[in-house]
Amino acid sequence: MADTLGAGWALDWIKKTAAVVNAQREELTDLDRAIGDGDHGANLDRGFQAVLVKLDGATPATAGEVLKTVATTLISTVGGASGALYGTAFLRASKLGDSDLDAAGVVALLQAGVDGIVQRGKASVGEKTMVDAWTPALAAGNEAVAAGKSPAEVLDAMAVAAQEGAVATEPLVATKGRASYLGERSAGHRDPGAQSTAYVLRAAADAAAAA
């Protein structure tokens, strides 16, 4: 396992993300059918398949370059709330990816992305959105960095926390996004964007473990 993560890791991360989104397309769509409009899986799959095409044969020099391509491609292919949010997140993150990243650098990069999500979407913790997966993930990441963990260990801790965060959205009543129209009836269902966030971070951790 590498001490720092660069373009190779970022490429692998994104390929693994595309693979898991494709594999879980139905699941994400079903989650969105329950409390949204049933397109989250299709939206992200369309986006990440387009990203694969864009990255095919490309030789980006930095993680930042990779993530910028991801951002612009998602922005121009996904649509929906998640297109704007993931697109903004990858765009902000890309700006911190000019050089190879140590553990703290990885967390800082993801923090920048989440700041973008919050700035655009104005959701805070507990509103049953992807922010409920990102926030505990960042907390776990910062903790792991403080404990001197490697980038791969840090990302693994973040992925675990994100998945827990996604599960923890189930009892929540949504107050942002489409699910908010359901009021109390949104409780009892997992937020699709929180689940896709957990997949994105799991892909990042797996790519780091293989780097």
Binding site: G36, I75, G79, G83
Partner: protein, 333 residues
Amino acid sequence: MKKLINDPEDVLSEFMRGFSIAHKDIVEYKTDPVHFHRAGGAVQGKTGLVSGGGSGHEPLGGGYVGAGMLDAVAPGAFFSSPTPDQILAATEAANGGAGVLHLVLNYTGDILNFEMAAELAAAEDIEVATVVIDDDVAVENSTWTAGRRGVAGAIAAMKMTGAATDLGYDLAKTAEVCTKINDSMGTMGLALTACTVPTAGKPSFDLGPDEIELGIGVHGEPGVKRVPMMQVDEIVDVLVDAVVKDLKFERGENVLLYINGLGATPLSEQYIMYNHAWDKLDALGVNVTRSQVGNYFTSLEMAGASVTIMRLDEELTKLYDAPVHTAGWRKGV
């Protein structure tokens, strides 16, 4: 899923190509990125009007682009907001040098993507103003939701705001009257069945054979309340009462009464709704001076409908009556 389609992934592109051939005298269709603009392009010196949103709300797509209505539109995937680059392209195509109004339906995805597009347009020195349509009184407008949704009333807003731009309203006045239109109307709807997005292949939600969904949105998302099936007069009571309560219509006022079908509901049923809604308004002393009944804003083949009531003063009546020439709405031309 039995649908008159080929590959589900090709539904939108084949639809749009067919549409653009059938209506080439009215619209031009661009594919990279996807948008429609008026045949002949932007009208120089006129305020531009752009809207957009997820596909599946037919005759949108290109159905409301044309003289007296939209200058350009950005249609997203089914029930997904368009992307910023689509909206930017539509904005450029609509810009006659006098700025462009973004008429956005209040959904998180649409808001966020139009916001990003407006930032991109600003970078190109195109003046953009935004009005958010949120006519759906079924959703409480509180900090506990993403706010009221934009539903069927949005079509009336597109038509009337488009008429304003044709009458020479500048960008600020156009935004002002569009806001006034939005504030003058309320809508509430119901669904009897869900609809099936071709790429999803199964219904967007499940409704029992004796259940209906009140306060349905138009994106296949569930409504705010599931109740047992009722006679239509009782349903119309709920819908009209909610709108009247929200808009506080007074005796002697003039209104537009507008029933919108969601796709699979026969016109006969829509006129039966109109019939009872008219009687209710009549009993309140409210004058229905303009009427509109039909599938103006569908959710694919959903069975259901909504009631929109709009307060009409002289200005709004004039805008409603102005000529319009689009594939989906035509009069006076």
